[in-house]
Structures are given as structure tokens and as C-alpha cells.
């Protein structure tokens, strides 16, 4: 008995959230099996085989598993589920797509977005956009969890070399096929993995103005985020959205620019180490959680900040 971790990856590299799930798994058991389901993803298996605490890598390498299709990956996990006490996956769009499907196929009630492990059957998860924390005890025989990456440290590959076991099982649904994937260019760090995040709000007003945020982010080597208001106003795509209904981030530095600080935005960034707020409204709620607040017009302050960072 042990833990099964579903690794998220892009068939070449391990996605950062996976490292946090491995740390969460190590809090539960010393016996961790990692499932790498993908297509031509041997590199991913090799990298994960080096992580201390991992006992075995299961590699299911087939085109059916290459694009995160839940209809294919879920039955594969169900086939082996009875061997484990817990099954963990990252609480990302990848994990959230697959894990509830696994749970229902097993007739199990899962626990999503776990931020803390209290006991082997008891977990804390945020509800109401992080405005409350629920401690949940589950009675199911197998515990299915998705792990919120920002709440756990990242495991680091070392020099271990655990065995990689090939799984030959192929599940390939004829009811769904991926026709296209358009991924945002990765010249900048990914939002949920970045050390610094610079986010803009509705105060930016136009797409052109939002480039100010991009320029500042570039100067800092930061990822770019946005409030839901900025997304709703069409300034940036939805995958920029930081907040309970978007992405939850906890970087070392979070800069909120022209963001008032709606509850739903704060839920997505309040665990950042240092928060900077720039806003012309000195009463904006964002200042209540900011470590450093600067009141003023962002269209003056942001260019000045970019300039100041030159020196």
C-alpha cells in the first residue's frame, strides 16, 4: 500500500505543481509511486525517478495519453487504484479535469484543493473563495486529493534512480479527440510558478495600456497576471486571471497595479511573500494586505518604476 501521484507534464518537462504534490505525498507515506501518463515522455519519467522519497515510476507512454484526455487517463488510474491508500494530483486544470472522473468511476467522494494535511484522512481546503477554511475528514477507503501547489514546498530531484516500470495498458476513447492546442508563448515564467508576478487591473483601461504591465514584468523577469475585472473588460485573456476562479499564486513578490482588491482576487494571491500595491485610491482594500503601498497614478508611477529599475 502506498500513494499514487499523477504527474503533470508537457511530455518533456515536469510541470512545477507536480513537485509540490510530491511533497504533500511525502507527508502521508514513504511509499510513493508516480504515474507518468503521456506520449514520448521518457524524459519526464527519468527526471521524476531522481526525486528522493519516490519508490517507483509507472510510465504509460502512448499517443492516447499525450494531451491530458481524462477519458483515457482516468480508466488507467482506476485499473490500479485498489493498490493505493491515496491518489494525489495537482489542483490545476489538468488535475481537476481528470481526478473527479477517477473518483466517480471508483464511487469515491474526493477532496479538492488541499492546502494542509492534518491526518491520513483529514485535510484542510479553502471554500468561498478562500474566505473560509474547511477541515474535512473523509470516510472513503481510498482518499482522492488534488493538491494546491502554492501550499506545499517543491520537491527537488537529486541523484536517486528508482525503477521505471512500463504500463502497457491503453485506453483510447473514440468519443473525444484534441484538434488544436494554442499555448501562450513561454518566454516568461508561468504564472503559477514564477518568483515574481506583476498583475494589472481594470484601471489600465485598454489593451495598449496593459503593455505597461508587460514592460514592468519583463524588467523584473516576472510573470504577468490580471484581476478578473481586467479579464472581463477584455484587456487580457482569461488564463492571466489571478483569483479564486482563475489561478492561485504565491510568489515571493506580487505587484498589484490598478487593482482595487476584490475578495475574489485577494483569494488568489494573499499567500504571496511580499505584496506591493499601486493604486490611485488610497482607500482601496488591496492596501490592507499590501506590505508596501504606493498611492498615485499608475500611468506616472509605473514608467517611473521601470526607469528606476534600470539603475
Amino acid at each position: 500500500m502506498g500513494i499514487l501521484v499523477l504527474a503533470e507534464h508537457d511530455n518533456q518537462h515536469v510541470k512545477p505543481a507536480t513537485w509540490s504534490v510530491l511533497t504533500a505525498a511525502s507527508e502521508l507515506s514513504a511509499e510513493i509511486t508516480v504515474l507518468v501518463a503521456g506520449n514520448a515522455c521518457q524524459n519526464v519519467a527519468n527526471t521524476l525517478a531522481k526525486v528522493p522519497g519516490v519508490s517507483a515510476i509507472w510510465l504509460a507512454d502512448h499517443p492516447a495519453y499525450g494531451q491530458g484526455i481524462a477519458e483515457n487517463i482516468a480508466p488507467l488510474m482506476v485499473q490500479y487504484a485498489a493498490k493505493f491508500t491515496h491518489i494525489l494530483a495537482p489542483a490545476t486544470t489538468y488535475g481537476k479535469n481528470i481526478m473527479p472522473r477517477v473518483a466517480a468511476l471508483l464511487d469515491i467522494s474526493m477532496v479538492g484543493d488541499v492546502i494542509s494535511i492534518i491526518a491520513c484522512d483529514t485535510f484542510i481546503r479553502p471554500i468561498y473563495a478562500g474566505n473560509a477554511l474547511a477541515t474535512i475528514q473523509t470516510t472513503d477507503t481510498i482518499k482522492l486529493l488534488t493538491i494546491r501547489a502554492t501550499a506545499f514546498a517543491k520537491a527537488v530531484p537529486a541523484t536517486n534512480n528508482v525503477p521505471i516500470i512500463l504500463l502497457a495498458d491503453i485506453y483510447n476513447s473514440d468519443k473525444i479527440v484534441v484538434s488544436e492546442e494554442i499555448l501562450t508563448p513561454a518566454e516568461r515564467p508561468e504564472l503559477t510558478a514564477a518568483r515574481i508576478v506583476v498583475s494589472g487591473g481594470r484601471a489600465l483601461q485598454t489593451r495598449e495600456n496593459f503593455q505597461l504591465i508587460e514592460q514592468l514584468a519583463e524588467k523584473l523577469g516576472a510573470a504577468v497576471g490580471a484581476s478578473r475585472a481586467a479579464v472581463d473588460a477584455g484587456l487580457v485573456p482569461n488564463d492571466y486571471q489571478v483569483g479564486q476562479t482563475g489561478k492561485v499564486v504565491a510568489p515571493e513578490l506580487y505587484m498589484a497595479i490598478g487593482i482595487s482588491g476584490a475578495i475574489q482576487h485577494i483569494a488568489g494571491m494573499k499567500d504571496s511573500k511580499v505584496i506591493v500595491a499601486i493604486n490611485k485610491d488610497s482607500e482601496a482594500p488591496i492596501f490592507q494586505i499590501a506590505d508596501y503601498g504606493l498611492v498615485g497614478d499608475l500611468f506616472t508611477l509605473v514608467p517611473a518604476l521601470i526607469q528606476a529599475l534600470e539603475t
Binding site: 481524462a70 486544470t93 489538468y94 481537476k96 479535469n97 481526478m99 473527479p100 472522473r101 477517477v102 473518483a103 466517480a104 469515491i108 467522494s109 479538492g112 484543493d113 479553502p126 471554500i127 468561498y128 473563495a129 474566505n131 473560509a132 477554511l133 474547511a134 477541515t135 474535512i136 475528514q137 473523509t138 470516510t139 472513503d140 468519443k175 473525444i176 479527440v177 484534441v178 484538434s179 494554442i182 499555448l183 513561454a186 508561468e190 523584473l220 479579464v231 472581463d232 485573456p237 482569461n238 488564463d239 479564486q244 476562479t245 513578490l253 475578495i263 511573500k273 511580499v274 492596501f287 490592507q288 494586505i289 499590501a290 506590505d291 508596501y292 503601498g293 504606493l294 517611473a304 528606476a308
Partner: protein, 250 residues
């Protein structure tokens, strides 16, 4: 012609600030303003647009919860659903039990598509649609930002971390919707009046052959730790100095 089922949840209005009960057993929802879950509004809007485009024949709204969910279903009828089903259940159910109730309705009503919000803004589970698809053994298209239907196939663009993925799925299908799919309409007054005459079929949950027993116990519900308020800086230079020499972060 297609039949569409839309799952609708009654939740605390998203603009209302919630508080945890003093005994830490739950969030205090007594006397709070309630509303249709915003993601469910988007799901319903998409279904109604498919009907208006002549692709769907009928839109059925379904809710699972206490009797006052009728109010939320009436709102759904005013927004364009043709009729509604309420699976009446006094206590809150876990996503798996909700999915089992929805499975029952989807089969009984012989629908081609079930639209759901990707999550509700109270429990924030993001599970029900995926579970329903699994129980029905249908494909699932989660986090939809675009839906195109042609020749009994459904093309759905999904908002995934790092970009967009378009899938082609056979029907019947379960689709969960994300924010950018559409901008829901407001109900027009004549439609609100008409909605009062549309039927709501009420079925007690305990009359269904479904075990809805909770598998999880909520031991405690607490307020999150408060973050300390920091300081105000007077200039860009001061900010840069603080970040460089005090926080040592840039």
C-alpha cells in the same frame, strides 16, 4: 433536434461578504442574499443561445437543493429555460451525490448535452461535471470558452493552464463552462411574467434510487489567517529601495 439540460445551483450572492459561524461549524448563510451561481448563469446562457440558433429544441433547468431553489429555477425560466426540475433535498450534498442525481435526470429526460458551471462559488469543488460525465460514460469538455455544434459533433475550446485546447467530442456530452464563454443576459420583464407559468417538476431526492449519504465530515470551518497591513511608501525610489534592501527581493 437536441435537448439540453442545465444544472443550476443556488448560492450566496457573490458580492456578499460571508462570515464563519462563531461555533466554527459552517459558514453563516442565514438571511444572506442568495443568487444563481455565476458559472451556472453562463451555462444557461449558452444553452439558450443554442436554442435561439435553432440547434436545440428544448432547454431544461435542474437544481438540487431545498425548496427555495424554486426561486432560482424561476430565474432560470425567465432567462430562457423552457421548464425546470427540482430534486428536493434539505441538506447539502457532496458533488458525487449531486452528480448521481443529475445522472438520473439526464437519463430520464434523454438529453444530448448537459451544461454546468465549472464550479460553484461556495464549495469551489470543480468536480460535479466531471463526475457526471464519468457516471454517464459520456465524454467531458471542461472549462469551455467556446462551443460550436455541427453534424452531431461538438467542438469545445477549453481554458487550460498555459493556453487553449480545442477538443472535438461526440454527443451526448457534458460541458462545464468558464468565464469567457459568454456574457449572460438580464431577464426581460415579459419573460419574468411568462416564467411564472412555466412548469417546475418537483421530485423528492429520497424518492430516487440514489444513495446520497455523506462520505465526508466537516470537522471545522474557520476564518483564514489575517495578513498584517504593511506600510505606505511615498515614492517610486522609496519602493525600489525597500524591495532591494529591506525585502531583498529584487
Amino acid at each position: 433536434m437536441m435537448k439540453i439540460l442545465v444544472a443550476i445551483k443556488r448560492v450566496v450572492d457573490p458580492y456578499v461578504k460571508i462570515k464563519v459561524r462563531l461555533d466554527e461549524t459552517a459558514v453563516d448563510t442565514d438571511n444572506l442574499k442568495m443568487a444563481m451561481n455565476p458559472f451556472c448563469e453562463i451555462a444557461l446562457e449558452e444553452a439558450v443561445r443554442l436554442k435561439e440558433a435553432g440547434i436545440a429544441q428544448e432547454v431544461i433547468a435542474v437544481s438540487i437543493g431545498p425548496n427555495n431553489c424554486q426561486e432560482t429555477l424561476r430565474q432560470g425560466l425567465a432567462l430562457g429555460a423552457d421548464r425546470a426540475v427540482l430534486i428536493e433535498q434539505a441538506t447539502a450534498l457532496e458533488p458525487l451525490a449531486i452528480a448521481k442525481c443529475l445522472q438520473y435526470v439526464a437519463i430520464a429526460q434523454q438529453v444530448d448535452i448537459v451544461f454546468l458551471g465549472k464550479q460553484s462559488i461556495d464549495g469551489d469543488h470543480n468536480q460535479t461535471g466531471q463526475m457526471l460525465a464519468a457516471l454517464l460514460q459520456w465524454p467531458q469538455a471542461t472549462f469551455a470558452s467556446k462551443v460550436v455544434i455541427k453534424n452531431n459533433q461538438c467542438m469545445v475550446t477549453r481554458e487550460i493552464d498555459g493556453g487553449l485546447q480545442t477538443v472535438v467530442v461526440n454527443m451526448p456530452v457534458v460541458i462545464t463552462v468558464d468565464l469567457r464563454l459568454n456574457q449572460p443576459r438580464y431577464p426581460a420583464l415579459p419573460l419574468i411574467m411568462q416564467a411564472k407559468r412555466k412548469p417546475i417538476d418537483i421530485i423528492p431526492a429520497n424518492s430516487l434510487p440514489i444513495d446520497v449519504t455523506s462520505r465526508q465530515h466537516i470537522l471545522r470551518v474557520t476564518a483564514p489567517p489575517k495578513r498584517q497591513m504593511g506600510i505606505r511608501v511615498g515614492s517610486v525610489e522609496e519602493l525600489v529601495n525597500k524591495l532591494r534592501y529591506e525585502a531583498k527581493i529584487i
